[in-house]
């Protein structure tokens, strides 16, 4: 059963099909948040919120939607809400993110890349993480971020150049 078909069932009230989507997406979404530098507990909380919204806003899923794009858009909105909630304590959050990164990844090179990524402007971080790690296509990223595909490509290129510079500085 495709993701879209399962979600159509959920939208029609067959909530058991939400478990299929949960099993397929819990891991990618949990890692999506980890890669944004959140602690494990926060990443689990936000992943849980994604599925809560999936069920509560099931009626907003329309035929013709691509499920992956739809759920990642929800995940991104939740992440931004989380940032807003913690913005009064931005310095602490930033420090937490650094500690969380070290806790989450024991591979040194990977950790360096994550640290370099964290130094980029958020719009570059987003497209690079989504294309490189979440393996989303440029069209999907454009849809999630509500920007043009051309702009996604420009951000990938510029972001990568900056990432390389930051990485070399750390290395």
């Amino acid at each position: 059963m495709t993701d879209e078909a399962a979600m159509q069932y959920v939208a029609l009230g067959d909530l058991d099909k939400a478990a299929i989507l949960y099993e397929r997406y819990k891991r990618p979404l949990y890692n999506f948040y980890l890669r944004f530098g959140l602690e494990r507990d926060s990443s689990q909380d936000l992943t849980q919120q994604v599925f809560y919204r999936l069920i509560h806003y099931r009626n907003t899923f329309r035929e013709g939607y691509e499920f992956r794009t739809w759920i990642y858009r929800i995940a991104r909105n939740i992440y931004h809400d989380f940032l807003k909630e913690h913005s009064h304590n931005h310095k602490d959050l930033h420090e937490n993110i650094e500690v969380a990164e070290e806790e989450n990844y024991d591979d040194e090179q990977h950790l360096l890349i994550q640290k370099a990524l964290a130094k980029l402007a958020p719009e570059y971080q987003e497209v690079l993480r989504m294309s490189r790690y979440d393996e989303l296509k440029y069209e999907e990223i454009a849809d999630i971020l509500n920007i043009s595909v051309s702009l996604v490509k420009v951000r990938v290129h510029r972001g990568l150049k900056q990432l390389k510079e930051e990485y070399l500085k750390l290395n």
């Binding site: 478990a19 819990k26 891991r27 490509k153 420009v154």
Partner: protein, 263 residues
């Protein structure tokens, strides 16, 4: 150039675009160097190290799902009840019942006008009793239908009965214990909770706790018994807690309810 490079990384360049990129790079050595370095950097980025969420995420999700399913079930039942009230108007049995009521009504009005001293109240009670019996007959006959949604309608129809007789309660209990469809059994459990004042209904709910296997239904019955304040349900709930086959979230619900009932 930026877009061409991004497409190159994504491996989505058309042959024409590949040619275009190659021409650009051949004519500009500095650009070619930058391109090669960036490409090699990109390819050197280690693959994502995926981590597994722990069991709390599963527990949280499946508990939420059960809760939402319960709410969805209630919403559907409410809709079905509304639909039943409308479809009832068109049913042949109702037409028969309406005929009976009309005849009795005419009879009552005739007697009332002919002799004011007749016992009006007695007649009215008789009409009500006839209606109740008709409703019960309809409900019992609908419970035998093949379609699960028709059987749910029948179960929900019991809500319209003021004080159902033992036969109706027994039919609901039989449905709770033997109907092959989980939604019908759940509807029967909730209908029985509606008649929680009747000992026979409460006894059936307590007994079914140890025979039902579906976690959704187990949770529904635990909830009902806790809300009824039925202390006799503590023992079967404790048995559920001791049973290794009981789902974790059912155990959690049973634990909460045992605490509530023994307070």
């Amino acid at each position: 150039m930026e877009q061409l490079f991004a497409d190159y990384l994504d491996n989505t360049l058309s042959p024409k675009q590949k040619q275009e990129l190659e021409t650009l790079l051949t004519n500009d050595a500095a650009l070619k160097k930058e391109f090669e370095e960036l490409k090699s950097f990109y390819e050197g980025i280690p693959a994502a190290k995926e981590q597994e969420p722990n069991a709390n995420l599963d527990l949280g999700f499946y508990m939420m799902l059960e809760k939402e399913k319960g709410a969805e079930q209630k919403r559907k039942e409410k809709q079905q009840k509304g639909a039943l009230r409308i479809s009832w108007i068109h049913s042949p049995i109702l037409k028969y019942a309406a005929g009976v009521v009309l005849l009795l009504g005419i009879f009552w009005v005739g007697r009332n006008t002919a002799d004011k001293n007749l016992a009006d109240l007695e007649d009215l009670t008789q009409i009500k009793r006839d209606m109740q019996q008709t409703k019960e007959l309809v409900m019992l006959s609908m419970l035998k239908r093949e379609s699960a949604s028709e059987r749910i309608k029948a179960v929900n129809y019991s809500y319209d009965l003021n004080k159902p007789d033992e036969e109706v309660l027994k039919a609901l209990i039989k449905t709770l214990n033997t109907d092959p469809n989980i939604n019908v059994r759940t509807a029967a459990a909730e209908a029985l909770s509606h008649f929680g004042d009747e000992k026979i209904a409460r006894d059936a709910l307590i007994q079914t706790l140890l025979t039902q296997q579906e976690p959704t239904l187990q949770i529904t019955v635990i909830d009902i018994l806790a809300n009824l304040g039925e202390k006799r349900a503590v023992k079967p709930m404790q048995k559920l807690l001791q049973n290794t086959d009981t789902d974790d979230f059912v155990k959690r619900k049973a634990q909460e309810s045992v605490r509530m009932l023994t307070m």
